[in-house]
């Protein structure tokens, strides 16, 4: 369960910097630019985003910025378009209006090369062992099976999965499956992580454990991440900053900084005064947005 605090093993893959500079303006868009300790590029910048399915307007006039290395939590009522937002950012779906830049890259294909997407369902392949599921992206990039396993192996140790490398997904608990899905996302080696309600399908106790686990994992990895959830507590506990979205069509209604002090055990964190007042503000914003 506990992770040792060593350097991240899954370094983000270098993306085409030439494309970045060609796109230009990446520093201006992200604000912090290259000033961060980890040269992550320019995070995520969304300007005037709008998307509809048929006549159903899902997202409207949405502006969002994620600083490099920052974990942004996005909460919103069910069905407000949070998942669509992540699909748009990742490049899986092309937006109808507005601009999205990930690390300064604007086209869907370039964004797809920079974003790792973790869906709500673990989507582990039942015919592959846990370690081969985690190392899927390495295999896709041409690594041999032995090579991919060698790279993935230390992460199993670090993320509390040692001994389960050869287990089949069907033999693992829901929490373990989600951890392997998270490893698979990490090992995609992309600078930006997009997490779409990663623990929605877990029971409350496992979910609390996994939130603690994810907060630590993201702290050691320090990648740019967007966590979408309907759970205010989860967003406040795991993220550096939380954006509350309105009901459909989604647009931001509140911004909250993560309550201080950070990096407490979950139980201490969620009962601290800063946390409870932040949660109340978030819930107020949510119910205001749902009206």
């Amino acid at each position: 369960m506990r992770m040792t605090s060593e350097a991240p093993v899954a370094e983000p893959q270098p993306v085409q910097r030439a494309a970045d500079s060609a796109a230009g303006g990446s520093d201006a868009l992200a604000g912090a630019g290259q000033a961060t300790q980890r040269t992550l590029g320019a995070g995520v910048a969304i300007r005037g985003l709008a998307h509809a399915f048929g006549g159903l307007r899902v997202i409207e006039r949405l502006d969002l910025t994620v600083e490099p290395g920052e974990v942004l939590g996005i909460v919103g009522p069910s069905g407000c378009g949070k998942s669509t937002l992540l699909e748009l950012v990742s490049g899986l779906r092309a937006p109808q209006a507005g601009a999205i830049e990930v690390e300064g890259a604007g086209s869907p294909a370039e964004r797809l090369a920079r974003c790792a997407y973790m869906p709500q369902r673990d989507l582990l392949l039942p015919w592959l062992a846990a370690i081969d599921n985690a190392a899927l992206a390495l295999r896709n990039r041409g690594a041999s099976r032995a090579e991919a396993r060698r790279i993935a192996h230390p992460l199993f140790e670090r993320f509390g999965l040692a001994g389960f490398e050869r287990s089949r997904p069907a033999e693992l608990s829901g929490g373990m499956r989600q951890r392997i899905a998270f490893l698979r996302t990490l090992l995609a080696g992309k600078p930006v992580l997009l997490l779409d309600e990663p623990f929605a399908s877990l029971d409350a106790i496992t979910r609390a454990e996994m939130q603690e686990w994810l907060a630590e994992a993201l702290a050691t990895e320090s990648r740019t991440a967007v966590l979408v959830t309907h759970d205010v507590e989860e967003a406040l506990y795991v993220s550096d900053r939380v954006t509350v979205l309105s009901a459909r069509p989604a647009s931001p209604v509140a911004q909250l900084a993560a309550p201080e002090p950070r990096a407490l055990p979950r139980l201490d964190a969620v009962t601290s005064q800063g946390f409870t007042s932040a949660r109340e503000r978030a819930l107020a914003a949510l119910s205001g947005g749902a009206r």
Binding site: S90, L92, L112, A113, P119, L125, P126, L136, A188
Partner: protein, 256 residues
Amino acid sequence: MKRWLPPLAIVLALLCAWELAARLDVIAHALKLEPFLVPSPSEIAQALWQDRGLLTDNAWVTLQEVLAGFALSVAAGVSFAIVLHLSPTLRRAFYPLLVASQTVPIVVVAPILVVWFGFGIGPKLAIIALICFFPITVNTLDGLGSVDPDLVKMMRTLDASRWQTLRRVEGPSALPYFFSGAKIAVAVAVIGAVFGEWAGSSSGLGHLIQEASAQLQTERTFAAVVVLSALAIALFALLAALERRIAWWGPNGTRS
């Protein structure tokens, strides 16, 4: 063990009834036939033993035809399914033709194929492949198409090429479907071999049945039919066992 008792009891009861009816000439009288034309199960069993050399030789010929024809249609069917899966245009173009190929009566085609390809193994392979091709192609194609779209999306975010998605996700997902088709195909392949042999051949179980029934050797005819069914059942069971081993994540797998 208990699972096998009910079917075994039914088969035994039917055999006993047949045996009695044949011995008492009930069937022969009812059909106004000479009694020797209606063999009892014990007489068929006797024929099985007496003609064992003849039956094994001919069964071997038929088995070779079935295996070669089946292998041919697996190779062709799976390749065709993959091509149609990758190209929606080709799929739309060829699918009606694929269905149409099943409406052609094999009994009619068989003699034409013999005219074209001669009396060798060629026309038998063509007939078997023609019959097996459809269930294998259609099932594999359905399997490839029924993959969870979220899995395909996930592979895109993991930098997979079209081919890698096919190999790592769509192929394994389609494998249980392929086996469903292959199990149907192998059972009908045996029937296809008989048609092929009837249309023109000098050996094989189908040929033996034709010859024996022409000479009113009904015990031998039945004995050949028994061997033929046993062959089909054995091939089906073999594929089912393979499916449990290879596609163990599917509905018929050992673990799911």
